[in-house]
Amino acid sequence: MSGRKLIISIDKEGNVTAEINGVKGPSCKDYTKLVEQLVEGNIIHETLTSEYYEQEVKTDDRSQLSNNL
């Protein structure tokens, strides 16, 4: 969950691109509403990347692995 960032780019015509970085899996889409509220606009296109299809590593899972060592 570290390094989660929202990067918003505003071009000189005022068009906006927003990227959610550092969030693996479908939970990145939880930020859709936040982005819409910040920009006060309509999302006209959405691009999912490979990170979207990755699994989030949960803290509990890590603990389990440590205990097994």
């Binding site: 969950m1 960032k5 071009d11 000189k12 691109t17 990145c28 910040l38 606009g41 990170e51």
Partner: protein, 144 residues
Amino acid sequence: MSVRFDIRPLILMGEATWNQSVQKQGAFSIPTNMKSGELIRNTLTKLYGIYTTDYGNIFETVISGYQLVFQMSGNGFFEVQHFYAEEASAITRMIKEMEMEYQGMVQDYVYNAIKTKAEEKGLVLEQEAVQKNQSIVLTFNLNA
């Protein structure tokens, strides 16, 4: 990056409610690429220090002796109407100047709106940069 959104801010989407009943017709019409009446008014005030007379969604002003009527056209952009053919070239130059100033106003408007909303929501602005292509990039930390 896990997801990327392309967003069209409402300020770029034009004023959909166009009141045909108060339409005012000048003799000549010049199209513009400006969509927001509010930002056009701000542009006129900044460039020429003037204010407009409003008639619903239409507004009128006089710049350097030229009477101009701003009116939303059917394609969602404002057009400028004027009344004398010999004024056309001077007014066209004036509109180009307005469009350039307006473009900067749109970017400023969107930038300020986003920063204000982000502050309201307690987002931490980690970095702000202007790119070579004049894009403004804001990076917010979502961990805070």
